[in-house]
Symmetry: C2
Subunit: 199 residues, 2 copies
Amino acid sequence: MDPINALKAYYQQLNPSMTEEDWHFFQSVQRVRRVKKGEMIVKPGEVCNHVSFVAEGLVRYFYFNEGKEITADFCPENCYTSEYCSFLTRRPTMDYLEALEDSILVEMDYEGMQSLYSRGALFERMGRLIAEGLFISLSTRNSTLMTKSPEDRYNEFFEAHPQMFQRVPLYMIASYLGITPETLSRIRKRLTEKAKQNS
Amino acid sequence: MDPINALKAYYQQLNPSMTEEDWHFFQSVQRVRRVKKGEMIVKPGEVCNHVSFVAEGLVRYFYFNEGKEITADFCPENCYTSEYCSFLTRRPTMDYLEALEDSILVEMDYEGMQSLYSRGALFERMGRLIAEGLFISLSTRNSTLMTKSPEDRYNEFFEAHPQMFQRVPLYMIASYLGITPETLSRIRKRLTEKAKQNS
DNA sequence: AGTTTTTCTTGATTTGAATCAAGAATGCCA
DNA sequence: TGGCATTCTTGATTCAAATCAAGAAAAACT
Protein backbone atom coordinates (compact mmCIF):
# COMPACT_ATOMS: atom_id res chain seq x y z
CA MET A 1 0.00 0.00 0.00
CA ASP A 2 1.05 3.57 -0.62
CA PRO A 3 2.53 4.93 2.62
CA ILE A 4 0.39 8.05 2.59
CA ASN A 5 -2.77 6.02 2.15
CA ALA A 6 -1.77 3.78 5.04
CA LEU A 7 -1.36 6.89 7.15
CA LYS A 8 -4.69 8.27 6.00
CA ALA A 9 -6.44 5.05 6.97
CA TYR A 10 -4.81 5.26 10.38
CA TYR A 11 -6.07 8.78 11.01
CA GLN A 12 -9.51 8.18 9.62
CA GLN A 13 -9.91 5.52 12.22
CA LEU A 14 -8.52 7.73 14.97
CA ASN A 15 -10.67 10.66 14.02
CA PRO A 16 -13.54 10.01 11.61
CA SER A 17 -14.59 13.67 11.60
CA MET A 18 -11.44 14.75 9.76
CA THR A 19 -12.39 16.58 6.56
CA GLU A 20 -10.53 16.46 3.26
CA GLU A 21 -9.31 19.97 3.97
CA ASP A 22 -7.94 18.97 7.37
CA TRP A 23 -6.30 15.97 5.80
CA HIS A 24 -4.73 18.13 3.14
CA PHE A 25 -3.23 20.41 5.72
CA PHE A 26 -2.10 17.43 7.76
CA GLN A 27 -0.45 15.87 4.76
CA SER A 28 1.41 19.08 3.99
CA VAL A 29 3.60 18.63 7.06
CA GLN A 30 4.40 14.95 6.40
CA ARG A 31 7.52 13.60 4.72
CA VAL A 32 8.06 10.07 3.46
CA ARG A 33 11.41 8.56 4.37
CA ARG A 34 12.93 5.22 3.47
CA VAL A 35 15.39 3.61 5.84
CA LYS A 36 17.55 0.52 5.48
CA LYS A 37 17.69 -2.40 7.85
CA GLY A 38 20.15 -1.56 10.62
CA GLU A 39 19.85 2.18 10.18
CA MET A 40 19.51 4.26 13.34
CA ILE A 41 16.62 6.70 13.08
CA VAL A 42 17.48 8.30 16.40
CA LYS A 43 20.73 8.08 18.38
CA PRO A 44 21.80 9.08 21.90
CA GLY A 45 22.68 12.74 22.23
CA GLU A 46 20.19 13.84 19.62
CA VAL A 47 16.90 15.55 20.35
CA CYS A 48 14.24 13.37 18.75
CA ASN A 49 12.66 15.75 16.29
CA HIS A 50 10.09 13.53 14.58
CA VAL A 51 7.19 11.28 15.15
CA SER A 52 7.30 8.56 12.54
CA PHE A 53 4.47 6.47 11.23
CA VAL A 54 5.80 3.09 10.14
CA ALA A 55 3.97 2.45 6.87
CA GLU A 56 6.10 -0.60 6.13
CA GLY A 57 8.79 -2.45 8.02
CA LEU A 58 9.74 -2.70 11.67
CA VAL A 59 11.42 -0.35 14.10
CA ARG A 60 12.62 -1.00 17.60
CA TYR A 61 13.23 1.35 20.46
CA PHE A 62 16.13 0.33 22.68
CA TYR A 63 18.80 1.58 25.04
CA PHE A 64 21.88 0.37 26.81
CA ASN A 65 22.01 -0.44 30.49
CA GLU A 66 25.24 -1.64 32.06
CA GLY A 67 26.59 -2.54 28.66
CA LYS A 68 23.58 -4.58 27.66
CA GLU A 69 20.96 -3.48 25.18
CA ILE A 70 17.39 -3.41 26.39
CA THR A 71 14.54 -3.38 23.89
CA ALA A 72 11.82 -1.08 25.17
CA ASP A 73 9.42 -1.43 22.27
CA PHE A 74 8.79 -2.91 18.86
CA CYS A 75 6.92 -0.86 16.31
CA PRO A 76 5.72 -2.79 13.26
CA GLU A 77 3.80 -1.35 10.29
CA ASN A 78 0.82 0.88 11.00
CA CYS A 79 2.00 2.25 14.29
CA TYR A 80 3.78 5.38 15.36
CA THR A 81 7.26 5.43 16.73
CA SER A 82 9.26 8.19 18.38
CA GLU A 83 11.32 8.86 21.43
CA TYR A 84 8.33 10.86 22.53
CA CYS A 85 9.78 12.09 25.84
CA SER A 86 12.70 13.67 24.02
CA PHE A 87 10.37 14.94 21.32
CA LEU A 88 8.09 16.61 23.86
CA THR A 89 10.72 17.96 26.20
CA ARG A 90 13.20 18.95 23.48
CA ARG A 91 15.96 17.35 25.49
CA PRO A 92 18.56 14.91 24.13
CA THR A 93 17.63 11.27 24.28
CA MET A 94 19.75 8.44 25.68
CA ASP A 95 18.08 5.92 23.42
CA TYR A 96 18.02 4.47 19.93
CA LEU A 97 15.40 3.96 17.27
CA GLU A 98 16.64 1.32 14.89
CA ALA A 99 15.10 -0.05 11.70
CA LEU A 100 15.09 -3.83 12.07
CA GLU A 101 13.90 -4.18 8.47
CA ASP A 102 13.98 -1.91 5.43
CA SER A 103 11.17 0.45 6.33
CA ILE A 104 9.06 3.27 4.98
CA LEU A 105 8.28 6.03 7.45
CA VAL A 106 5.94 8.98 7.20
CA GLU A 107 7.46 11.62 9.42
CA MET A 108 6.31 14.86 10.94
CA ASP A 109 8.74 17.15 12.72
CA TYR A 110 8.19 19.12 15.92
CA GLU A 111 7.53 22.36 14.14
CA GLY A 112 5.01 20.71 11.83
CA MET A 113 3.21 19.27 14.80
CA GLN A 114 3.02 22.67 16.50
CA SER A 115 1.59 24.17 13.32
CA LEU A 116 -1.10 21.48 13.37
CA TYR A 117 -1.90 22.29 16.98
CA SER A 118 -2.18 25.98 16.28
CA ARG A 119 -4.69 25.21 13.58
CA GLY A 120 -7.34 24.31 16.12
CA ALA A 121 -9.23 21.91 18.29
CA LEU A 122 -9.31 18.99 15.86
CA PHE A 123 -5.54 18.58 15.85
CA GLU A 124 -5.25 19.36 19.53
CA ARG A 125 -7.68 16.54 20.13
CA MET A 126 -5.65 14.27 17.91
CA GLY A 127 -2.53 15.07 19.93
CA ARG A 128 -4.42 14.48 23.13
CA LEU A 129 -5.74 11.11 21.98
CA ILE A 130 -2.26 10.07 20.92
CA ALA A 131 -0.75 11.07 24.26
CA GLU A 132 -3.58 9.35 26.13
CA GLY A 133 -3.07 6.21 24.08
CA LEU A 134 0.66 6.23 24.78
CA PHE A 135 -0.04 6.67 28.47
CA ILE A 136 -2.42 3.72 28.50
CA SER A 137 0.04 1.49 26.60
CA LEU A 138 2.87 2.39 28.90
CA SER A 139 0.74 1.82 32.00
CA THR A 140 -0.26 -1.58 30.73
CA ARG A 141 3.29 -2.56 29.90
CA ASN A 142 4.44 -1.26 33.27
CA SER A 143 1.89 -3.26 35.13
CA THR A 144 2.82 -6.42 33.21
CA LEU A 145 6.51 -6.01 33.95
CA MET A 146 5.90 -5.29 37.62
CA THR A 147 3.31 -7.92 38.46
CA LYS A 148 3.65 -10.87 36.10
CA SER A 149 6.26 -13.63 36.17
CA PRO A 150 8.72 -13.96 33.28
CA GLU A 151 6.82 -17.01 32.07
CA ASP A 152 3.50 -15.18 32.10
CA ARG A 153 5.07 -12.26 30.29
CA TYR A 154 6.41 -14.61 27.66
CA ASN A 155 3.02 -16.25 27.16
CA GLU A 156 1.29 -12.89 26.96
CA PHE A 157 3.75 -11.67 24.35
CA PHE A 158 3.44 -14.88 22.41
CA GLU A 159 -0.35 -14.60 22.32
CA ALA A 160 -0.28 -10.96 21.31
CA HIS A 161 2.56 -10.97 18.78
CA PRO A 162 3.23 -14.48 17.46
CA GLN A 163 4.53 -13.06 14.16
CA MET A 164 7.33 -11.25 16.00
CA PHE A 165 9.15 -14.52 16.51
CA GLN A 166 9.66 -14.71 12.74
CA ARG A 167 10.89 -11.16 12.52
CA VAL A 168 13.29 -10.51 15.40
CA PRO A 169 15.93 -12.57 17.23
CA LEU A 170 14.94 -14.07 20.56
CA TYR A 171 17.49 -12.08 22.50
CA MET A 172 15.61 -8.91 21.63
CA ILE A 173 12.37 -10.42 22.80
CA ALA A 174 14.14 -11.53 25.97
CA SER A 175 15.22 -8.01 26.83
CA TYR A 176 11.77 -6.70 25.94
CA LEU A 177 10.40 -9.18 28.49
CA GLY A 178 12.94 -8.01 31.05
CA ILE A 179 14.98 -11.23 31.15
CA THR A 180 18.24 -12.61 29.75
CA PRO A 181 18.38 -14.74 26.60
CA GLU A 182 19.38 -17.72 28.75
CA THR A 183 16.29 -17.36 30.89
CA LEU A 184 14.07 -17.05 27.83
CA SER A 185 15.62 -20.17 26.36
CA ARG A 186 14.86 -22.08 29.56
CA ILE A 187 11.29 -20.82 29.69
CA ARG A 188 10.73 -22.01 26.13
CA LYS A 189 12.25 -25.38 26.89
CA ARG A 190 10.03 -25.79 29.94
CA LEU A 191 6.95 -24.88 27.91
CA THR A 192 7.67 -27.28 25.06
CA GLU A 193 8.29 -30.07 27.57
CA LYS A 194 5.02 -29.25 29.26
CA ALA A 195 3.32 -29.33 25.85
CA LYS A 196 4.81 -32.77 25.10
CA GLN A 197 3.45 -34.24 28.32
CA ASN A 198 -0.05 -33.11 27.38
CA SER A 199 0.02 -35.12 24.17
CA MET B 1 -5.16 28.32 50.98
CA ASP B 2 -8.65 28.06 49.53
CA PRO B 3 -8.78 24.87 47.45
CA ILE B 4 -10.22 26.64 44.41
CA ASN B 5 -7.47 29.23 44.50
CA ALA B 6 -4.86 26.53 44.73
CA LEU B 7 -6.37 24.94 41.64
CA LYS B 8 -6.49 28.25 39.83
CA ALA B 9 -2.80 28.83 40.52
CA TYR B 10 -2.07 25.38 39.15
CA TYR B 11 -3.87 26.04 35.89
CA GLN B 12 -2.57 29.55 35.45
CA GLN B 13 0.88 28.05 35.46
CA LEU B 14 -0.11 25.28 33.07
CA ASN B 15 -1.83 27.63 30.68
CA PRO B 16 -1.20 31.35 31.15
CA SER B 17 -3.53 32.29 28.29
CA MET B 18 -6.61 31.13 30.19
CA THR B 19 -9.09 34.01 30.42
CA GLU B 20 -11.42 34.75 33.33
CA GLU B 21 -14.28 33.48 31.21
CA ASP B 22 -12.50 30.19 30.50
CA TRP B 23 -11.71 29.86 34.15
CA HIS B 24 -15.31 30.49 35.09
CA PHE B 25 -16.48 27.75 32.79
CA PHE B 26 -13.74 25.47 34.05
CA GLN B 27 -14.73 26.12 37.63
CA SER B 28 -18.35 25.31 36.89
CA VAL B 29 -17.53 21.63 36.42
CA GLN B 30 -15.40 21.34 39.58
CA ARG B 31 -16.59 20.03 42.95
CA VAL B 32 -14.75 20.32 46.25
CA ARG B 33 -14.67 17.13 48.29
CA ARG B 34 -13.25 16.47 51.73
CA VAL B 35 -11.98 13.00 52.55
CA LYS B 36 -10.78 11.51 55.83
CA LYS B 37 -7.50 9.74 56.40
CA GLY B 38 -7.91 6.11 55.41
CA GLU B 39 -10.82 6.74 53.07
CA MET B 40 -10.74 5.00 49.70
CA ILE B 41 -11.41 7.45 46.88
CA VAL B 42 -11.41 4.68 44.28
CA LYS B 43 -11.75 0.94 44.82
CA PRO B 44 -11.30 -2.15 42.60
CA GLY B 45 -14.32 -2.88 40.44
CA GLU B 46 -15.30 0.74 40.07
CA VAL B 47 -14.78 2.81 36.97
CA CYS B 48 -12.71 5.78 38.07
CA ASN B 49 -14.99 8.66 37.19
CA HIS B 50 -12.97 11.64 38.41
CA VAL B 51 -9.70 13.40 38.15
CA SER B 52 -8.95 14.92 41.52
CA PHE B 53 -6.72 17.85 42.30
CA VAL B 54 -5.28 17.43 45.78
CA ALA B 55 -5.53 20.93 47.25
CA GLU B 56 -4.51 19.70 50.70
CA GLY B 57 -3.42 16.37 52.07
CA LEU B 58 -1.91 13.27 50.54
CA VAL B 59 -3.28 10.48 48.38
CA ARG B 60 -1.64 7.27 47.31
CA TYR B 61 -2.33 5.03 44.40
CA PHE B 62 -1.79 1.35 45.15
CA TYR B 63 -2.79 -2.18 44.21
CA PHE B 64 -2.40 -5.71 45.44
CA ASN B 65 -0.09 -8.24 43.85
CA GLU B 66 0.14 -11.74 45.26
CA GLY B 67 -1.41 -10.57 48.49
CA LYS B 68 1.01 -7.70 48.98
CA GLU B 69 0.16 -4.07 48.46
CA ILE B 70 2.26 -2.16 45.99
CA THR B 71 2.31 1.64 46.08
CA ALA B 72 2.39 2.94 42.52
CA ASP B 73 2.32 6.63 43.32
CA PHE B 74 2.10 9.29 45.99
CA CYS B 75 0.16 12.42 45.26
CA PRO B 76 0.71 15.26 47.75
CA GLU B 77 -0.93 18.70 47.63
CA ASN B 78 -0.96 20.58 44.33
CA CYS B 79 -0.96 17.60 42.09
CA TYR B 80 -3.61 15.64 40.25
CA THR B 81 -4.55 12.11 41.09
CA SER B 82 -6.74 9.63 39.26
CA GLU B 83 -6.71 6.09 38.03
CA TYR B 84 -6.38 7.72 34.64
CA CYS B 85 -6.37 4.51 32.58
CA SER B 86 -9.72 3.53 34.02
CA PHE B 87 -10.94 7.09 33.67
CA LEU B 88 -9.99 7.21 29.99
CA THR B 89 -11.05 3.74 28.99
CA ARG B 90 -14.23 3.67 31.13
CA ARG B 91 -13.25 0.21 32.31
CA PRO B 92 -13.23 -0.94 35.94
CA THR B 93 -9.99 -0.47 37.79
CA MET B 94 -8.12 -3.10 39.83
CA ASP B 95 -6.54 -0.42 41.98
CA TYR B 96 -7.08 1.85 44.96
CA LEU B 97 -6.80 5.54 45.60
CA GLU B 98 -6.49 6.09 49.32
CA ALA B 99 -6.29 9.28 51.35
CA LEU B 100 -3.23 8.92 53.60
CA GLU B 101 -4.16 12.17 55.38
CA ASP B 102 -7.35 14.16 55.73
CA SER B 103 -7.47 15.78 52.31
CA ILE B 104 -9.31 18.34 50.26
CA LEU B 105 -9.88 17.42 46.63
CA VAL B 106 -11.18 19.45 43.74
CA GLU B 107 -12.81 16.94 41.44
CA MET B 108 -14.03 16.92 37.88
CA ASP B 109 -16.00 14.01 36.50
CA TYR B 110 -15.72 12.41 33.07
CA GLU B 111 -18.74 14.20 31.69
CA GLY B 112 -17.46 17.55 32.93
CA MET B 113 -14.16 16.91 31.25
CA GLN B 114 -15.84 16.08 27.94
CA SER B 115 -17.83 19.28 28.16
CA LEU B 116 -14.60 21.18 28.59
CA TYR B 117 -13.12 19.48 25.55
CA SER B 118 -16.13 20.26 23.43
CA ARG B 119 -15.71 23.90 24.32
CA GLY B 120 -12.65 24.23 22.15
CA ALA B 121 -8.95 24.15 21.53
CA LEU B 122 -7.86 25.70 24.83
CA PHE B 123 -9.24 22.84 26.88
CA GLU B 124 -8.20 20.23 24.35
CA ARG B 125 -4.70 21.59 24.69
CA MET B 126 -4.94 21.43 28.45
CA GLY B 127 -5.98 17.78 28.22
CA ARG B 128 -3.16 17.10 25.82
CA LEU B 129 -0.57 18.73 28.07
CA ILE B 130 -1.84 16.76 31.04
CA ALA B 131 -1.67 13.47 29.14
CA GLU B 132 1.79 14.34 27.80
CA GLY B 133 2.96 15.18 31.31
CA LEU B 134 1.63 11.90 32.65
CA PHE B 135 3.36 10.04 29.86
CA ILE B 136 6.67 11.73 30.63
CA SER B 137 6.36 11.02 34.37
CA LEU B 138 5.52 7.41 33.79
CA SER B 139 8.38 6.98 31.32
CA THR B 140 10.80 8.46 33.81
CA ARG B 141 9.57 6.27 36.63
CA ASN B 142 9.67 3.25 34.36
CA SER B 143 13.21 3.90 33.35
CA THR B 144 14.27 4.34 36.98
CA LEU B 145 12.67 1.06 38.03
CA MET B 146 14.15 -0.84 35.11
CA THR B 147 17.69 0.51 35.10
CA LYS B 148 18.66 1.68 38.58
CA SER B 149 19.60 -0.44 41.56
CA PRO B 150 17.39 -0.44 44.67
CA GLU B 151 19.96 1.69 46.46
CA ASP B 152 20.07 4.24 43.66
CA ARG B 153 16.29 4.32 43.56
CA TYR B 154 16.23 4.97 47.29
CA ASN B 155 18.74 7.80 47.03
CA GLU B 156 16.88 9.34 44.13
CA PHE B 157 13.62 9.23 46.05
CA PHE B 158 15.25 10.62 49.14
CA GLU B 159 16.69 13.56 47.19
CA ALA B 160 13.41 14.29 45.45
CA HIS B 161 10.95 13.77 48.30
CA PRO B 162 12.69 14.02 51.68
CA GLN B 163 9.47 15.22 53.32
CA MET B 164 7.71 11.98 52.41
CA PHE B 165 9.63 10.15 55.11
CA GLN B 166 7.74 12.21 57.70
CA ARG B 167 4.40 11.56 56.09
CA VAL B 168 4.22 7.89 55.14
CA PRO B 169 5.48 4.63 56.66
CA LEU B 170 8.64 3.15 55.22
CA TYR B 171 6.92 0.02 54.00
CA MET B 172 4.93 2.11 51.54
CA ILE B 173 8.09 3.76 50.28
CA ALA B 174 9.67 0.30 49.98
CA SER B 175 6.92 -0.95 47.70
CA TYR B 176 7.04 2.28 45.71
CA LEU B 177 10.74 1.57 45.17
CA GLY B 178 9.95 -1.97 44.12
CA ILE B 179 11.52 -3.69 47.14
CA THR B 180 10.44 -5.29 50.42
CA PRO B 181 10.50 -3.42 53.73
CA GLU B 182 13.36 -5.66 54.88
CA THR B 183 15.47 -4.72 51.92
CA LEU B 184 14.76 -1.03 52.45
CA SER B 185 15.75 -1.36 56.09
CA ARG B 186 19.06 -2.93 55.07
CA ILE B 187 19.75 -0.27 52.47
CA ARG B 188 19.19 2.43 55.07
CA LYS B 189 21.45 0.67 57.54
CA ARG B 190 24.19 0.34 54.94
CA LEU B 191 23.90 4.03 54.06
CA THR B 192 24.07 5.25 57.66
CA GLU B 193 27.11 3.05 58.28
CA LYS B 194 28.74 4.44 55.15
CA ALA B 195 27.94 7.96 56.42
CA LYS B 196 29.54 7.20 59.80
CA GLN B 197 32.80 6.06 58.19
CA ASN B 198 33.05 9.36 56.34
CA SER B 199 33.10 11.35 59.57
C1' DA C 1 30.05 -25.03 -0.36
C1' DG C 2 32.76 -23.45 3.09
C1' DT C 3 33.84 -19.96 6.43
C1' DT C 4 32.65 -16.54 9.66
C1' DT C 5 29.50 -14.33 12.51
C1' DT C 6 25.49 -14.22 14.99
C1' DT C 7 22.18 -16.41 17.71
C1' DC C 8 20.61 -19.96 20.71
C1' DT C 9 21.00 -23.61 24.13
C1' DT C 10 22.57 -26.05 28.11
C1' DG C 11 24.99 -26.75 32.42
C1' DA C 12 27.40 -25.01 36.69
C1' DT C 13 27.80 -21.36 39.82
C1' DT C 14 26.87 -16.97 41.94
C1' DT C 15 24.15 -13.41 43.61
C1' DG C 16 20.85 -10.05 45.25
C1' DA C 17 16.70 -9.76 47.00
C1' DA C 18 12.66 -12.33 48.90
C1' DT C 19 10.99 -14.98 52.39
C1' DC C 20 10.68 -16.69 56.95
C1' DA C 21 11.01 -15.80 61.72
C1' DA C 22 11.28 -13.26 65.82
C1' DG C 23 12.09 -9.53 68.58
C1' DA C 24 12.39 -4.21 69.24
C1' DA C 25 10.62 0.26 68.69
C1' DT C 26 7.07 3.29 67.97
C1' DG C 27 2.55 5.06 67.74
C1' DC C 28 -2.16 5.11 69.03
C1' DC C 29 -6.06 5.38 71.76
C1' DA C 30 -9.03 3.99 75.67
C1' DT D 1 -0.28 5.60 81.37
C1' DG D 2 -0.70 1.10 80.11
C1' DG D 3 -1.67 -2.06 76.58
C1' DC D 4 -2.38 -3.30 71.81
C1' DA D 5 -1.38 -2.72 67.08
C1' DT D 6 1.48 -1.27 63.70
C1' DT D 7 5.87 -0.60 61.89
C1' DC D 8 10.69 -1.44 61.71
C1' DT D 9 14.93 -4.07 62.23
C1' DT D 10 17.96 -7.96 62.19
C1' DG D 11 19.44 -12.63 61.25
C1' DA D 12 19.04 -17.17 58.80
C1' DT D 13 17.56 -19.37 54.81
C1' DT D 14 15.67 -19.91 50.23
C1' DC D 15 15.03 -18.91 45.59
C1' DA D 16 14.71 -17.24 40.88
C1' DA D 17 17.21 -15.31 37.70
C1' DA D 18 21.85 -13.54 36.35
C1' DT D 19 26.27 -14.64 35.24
C1' DC D 20 29.88 -17.43 33.51
C1' DA D 21 31.35 -20.76 30.26
C1' DA D 22 31.27 -23.48 26.27
C1' DG D 23 29.48 -25.69 22.59
C1' DA D 24 25.58 -26.26 18.91
C1' DA D 25 22.79 -24.37 15.48
C1' DA D 26 21.52 -21.10 12.20
C1' DA D 27 22.26 -17.26 9.21
C1' DA D 28 25.00 -14.30 6.43
C1' DC D 29 28.73 -13.57 3.48
C1' DT D 30 32.24 -14.62 -0.18
